[in-house]
Symmetry: C2
Subunit: 659 residues, 2 copies
């Protein structure tokens, strides 16, 4: 659950849409002045909305907070990123991809812990009943105190300490702090309620009867866990293997401010890599061990004078900064992926979770954080979650979710073994007992140390003389007569165990947003000229084709080139509007299109006949290329086979075309 | 709304999962014998589940009706089909792709009509309160009467007539018929309630306050309609243009039986092609006009002695069988797409909606229906929906959703024109009036005939002296003083109008399921050997690579070839299990993998050194190919550049390898 949003250094607020800042509480009656970063963000998101990269959803109806559409170029960029992800992780690593529904029955999310614990603390305005996140209000109040020159250093230290612990506070502590700092509702300044838990899942009801509660999944991971047994079988019963899912997840945020970072419906790409807990080495670790991402370890974070440090993954594993090779391998692969889609590696760090951030079962967790105008944004969570998830579903579903590996030589193992008395079951449940028998078949034996379903049944037997087992949608009361459980020491040639899972979990929308920020710039020649320096593979279109002036002959050539590019898999657009070439270049720059092809009079006649100009977006330099070469040249430039410098070597330079 | 499910000739029921047949009511106490088609389907879906093409969702928890996962090979097939769709429609036609959330606020679906009318008639069991679809129960009862030899011909005619009209019956008529035919609940035989409307949308609540109702979208189309204004702007204000969306839609079916045809969460791919209602010709119609799909026109359906007829689209348009070129163009493109993904053109027909099936606003509707073991299954809906959708959203949102086209020469046009009195508005609403002013700016004038927002305001003024306008999330009471509306005759150089929309709407899961049925066969040599003859572009993997026997040397070559194929974009698997080559071929056949590459001893030494065998799935014939050629050969075979016969010409034949 890497996007539970606790601890991420994020303040939302984008562009034309109402920017509500958590710092509102700071100055009681005046809006804070926008910072340089705020202005930069407003300018950029303005372009994003004008060019339809994003559109506030249901805009003609006034919009709904926390929902965004991707318009045509945004949709293309998002698909390109997703496709690169699929190539980089799923295809390259032979992962098993699955697609599961978003609507999920309660029992699955009860087992995973989301029904009980996927919550934020909320407070309500005593008069308007508007809802606010309790931690956000407290944080804003504390930051106001911190910024207030009239406060004593002692007070500021107290506030600083509280700010650091804000995510650890329980309802009572949070309530006490809100009272102590006299926090009121933002804007109205009304009194607020005590903090209480609000579950962030969208709830619905499955089927017409209304008796089956469902939720929209808050993460895609659970679909993989519940399919573990089938996926292991598909993989020939062998570990390690990884499964992956790309799809929509849903979080009913209490008060999402505008912006792409905290939305209520978003795309996740999640990997569950299942391994033997006793062997978390990775066969391909050597391929990433020399990478040196910025690591912000627990130790560095605790020392306020320290910054994140570039460190080779090899050193990080050998010095036990990162818990194991597999986790480090995925940190390396994640680094390569993010840089490939256009994240500036200088603005990317991997931050280790502090002890108080990690769940008790987690072995080690790191977040890929990307620097943006919002501060450092958590975009990928990489966690060694041990056997927690599989164990939870195994217990709740009564289906053993285990793997088997052979020992080098046989060993003695203590086990619980069950004998199923079919006669006794038949006598009690008659024909209805079939699902029970099937369930029991699946739990015939287990390791004594595993504390699995048999251990659970044995405990119930000794406590109450009976045990309840769910199967086929009903509960069966099972007696020791039906299920005889005994201990045995067996010689075993291998072990059966619940695998550990290493989970890299990507927030595609957040990566996309940060990528936009890193790609955005203004041309120095003119303040008005916005450019997105998208990587060619990520750019929504690879080329724009222009007839220099409006002419049927030039249009025809332009359309022919466009078709050739499309056939070569290069999405492109033809602009025959005949406005100045400068304006048309500016349009392609705003869409981040890497190459512009101009068809001019020289294309039709003279010494240059049959050639066109190709302009590279960032250098704005141009070369003259035979029409027949264009598709192949662009394919190579976009795939990274060839750089622009190579193209400049191969083809003659061309001055910017005259109008 | 092409999948409202009315009128589709579908009976669900798949494989291992409980097959409940609507024909249950036919024979009171005995299950009907499975037909040959039932057996075929059970065998095929058995393979689909065993090979993890599909997995009943949440299976370890007993599953939930109407939800399916795609396992690894199913996920790949689905993505291939979706990608081909994107290529065939979006890229080839330069459509504007968007991605909108599934969670949709009530106002949008109120405007579209779904809140009020997206319903099925339901009855409940008087004792168990189980829910059933009223029409399904009636249909089963009527079919039992029809099949009963003891009934008179008159009775049978009456039943036949009722069966034909079953989708037109209202609640009262349906209730009367259920009573007349003494219909009881299936299985329990208890009395049933009177039929009542059940809305098929999943309902949820957006935000923590609970005051904003949302639904999971029942179709992706609405996201496009609400973005029409921005999309038109993006397209330079020009018609025609098409927008498209691929995504999940949701229908809370009353009693979905197992099977992929009626599920509660499914992938749709929808196109909205916006045109001038006065010009529905299509510039590329000539590219499809000679296609001759099977057309089942209204006239043919009314004559029970007639069958669907192959007819050129050109003839169909000129004879007014199909309403216009644009609709016919999309029928042609749909035909080409379905055949490309592997639908047998002999088992594909386009059926025109009867008058009673069409909404009052629709100009013409056709369904692409595919023959399967369930009968003819509606997989694509193609409808000319006139201006209905844009008009509905324009009225509900008070935002004009219009286009403009220039006339050849200026014309006189009657209009309503508004004068906005900013002073009066400022006086009443002070600073709060800003959103109102913005809304009014957008409705400055309209065609008198359009009955748009100004006409609506004028009516309110004359009736009540005021008019309510929603803007910025609140309602403003506007007076004639603030908004002066007068009629004017203007000379116009063009017209402003609400475009018509032609909507091709694809159910990806249904197409996928029918494609599986058309691809499925048993090898004649042996009853046990299942093959899916997937088109190479659709197949989950393009190749399997086998070392003939277990050997480090052969494994190394196999892995090298696998890597080369992957680099060439060809998903593949290496099988080093060392089981018999026959068994490994059988495994690839079950996954529909088109090519198997075997590395044998001859690869390493002798006259054939450096060459491997390539086997084609359906002919099972083999050729011997140099290792260096393999990736390029497969790329050509998979893209359709080259056929297997060409490969057989180019490379020497090879006998099946000896073990």
């Amino acid at each position: 659950m890497p996007f539970a949003g606790k601890g991420a250094n994020v303040i939302d607020g984008v562009s034309k849409l109402a920017v509500k800042d958590t710092k509102d509480a700071k100055k009681k009656d005046s809006k804070p002045q926008p910072t340089e970063k705020d202005l930069l963000r407003a300018a950029m998101t303005g372009v994003m909305e004008r060019k339809l990269f994003i559109i506030p959803s249901f805009k003609i109806y006034g919009g709904v907070a926390g929902f965004f559409d991707f318009g045509p170029p945004g949709c293309a960029v998002k698909q390109n990123i997703t496709q690169l992800w699929r190539q980089h992780f799923i295809l390259e690593e032979n992962m098993l991809e699955v697609e599961c529904p978003a609507v999920t029955p309660e029992m699955v999310l009860k087992a995973s812990g989301h029904v009980d614990r996927f919550t934020d603390f909320m407070v309500t305005d005593a008069v308007t009943h508007d809802c606010h996140r309790a931690d956000h209000l407290l944080k804003a109040a504390l930051e106001a105190v911190k910024a207030d020159d009239k406060q004593t250093p002692e007070k500021k230290d107290e506030v600083e300490g509280l700010l650091r612990r804000i995510d650890e506070l329980d309802a009572q502590q949070l309530g006490a702090a809100l009272t102590a700092y006299e926090v009121t509702a933002p804007e109205t300044k009304n009194a607020i309620s005590a903090p209480f838990n609000f579950n962030l899942m969208f709830r619905t009801s499955i089927g017409p009867k209304g008796d089956l509660t469902g939720f929209l999944r808050p993460e895609t991971a659970q679909g993989i866990f519940v399919n573990f047994k089938d996926l292991l079988y598909y993989n020939g019963g062998k570990l390690p293997f990884a499964a992956a899912q790309i799809g929509q997840s849903y979080r009913n945020e209490i008060s999402p401010r505008a912006g792409l970072l905290r939305v209520r419906e978003f795309t996740q790409a999640e990997i569950e890599h299942f391994v033997d807990p006793e062997d978390k080495n990775h066969p391909k670790f050597s391929s990433v061990e020399d990478l040196q991402p910025l690591l912000y370890s627990r130790a560095l974070q605790k020392d306020t004078s320290k910054q994140p440090e570039a460190m080779s993954l090899k050193a990080a594993v050998s010095q036990r900064v990162i818990a194991n090779e597999t986790l480090a391998y995925f940190i390396g692969r994640t680094y390569l992926f993010l840089v490939q889609v256009g994240i500036n590696p200088q603005r990317l760090r991997f931050r280790q979770h502090l002890d108080n951030e990690m769940a008790h079962y987690a072995e080690d967790c790191w977040d890929a954080e990307i620097d943006s105008t919002y501060g450092w944004v958590e975009c990928v969570g990489l966690a060694d979650r041990s056997a927690f998830d599989l164990r939870a579903h195994s217990e709740a579903s009564k289906q053993p979710l285990q793997a088997y590996t052979a020992y080098d030589k046989p060993r003695d193992v203590d086990k619980l073994v069950a004998k199923i008395n079919k006669q006794a079951i038949g006598k009690t449940f008659k024909k209805d007992g079939k699902p029970l028998l099937e369930a029991l078949e699946g739990m015939k034996e287990e390791l004594k140390d595993d504390k699995g379903p048999l251990a659970c049944a044995r405990d119930s037997f000794s406590r109450e003389g009976k045990h309840s087992i769910s199967a086929g949608g009903r509960a069966f009361e099972v007696t020791p007569e039906m299920l005889e459980i005994r201990e045995e020491t067996q010689k075993e040639s291998g072990k059966r165990f619940i695998p550990s899972v290493i989970e890299p979990s990507f927030g595609i929308g957040r990566i996309l947003y940060c990528m936009f920020e890193h790609a955005y710039y203004q041309r120095e020649s003119s303040e008005e000229k916005t450019v997105f320096r998208f990587q060619p593979a990520v750019a929504p279109l690879k080329a724009a084709v222009f007839p220099l002036v409006q002419s049927k002959d030039l249009d025809e050539v332009a359309r022919r080139i466009s078709t050739k590019l499309r056939r070569a898999g290069l999405a492109n657009t033809v602009d025959t509007t005949g406005t100045t070439i400068g304006k048309r270049y500016a349009r392609t720059d705003e869409l981040g299109i890497p190459f512009a092809i101009t068809v001019d009079r020289d294309t039709l006649e003279g010494a240059m006949q049959g050639s066109v100009t190709v302009r590279e977006r960032d250098s704005t330099s141009q070369v003259r290329v035979p029409e027949d070469d264009v598709a192949d040249l662009l394919r190579r430039l976009c795939s990274g086979d060839m750089g622009w410098a190579d193209a400049q070597q191969k083809y003659p330079a061309q001055a910017a075309p005259s109008e």
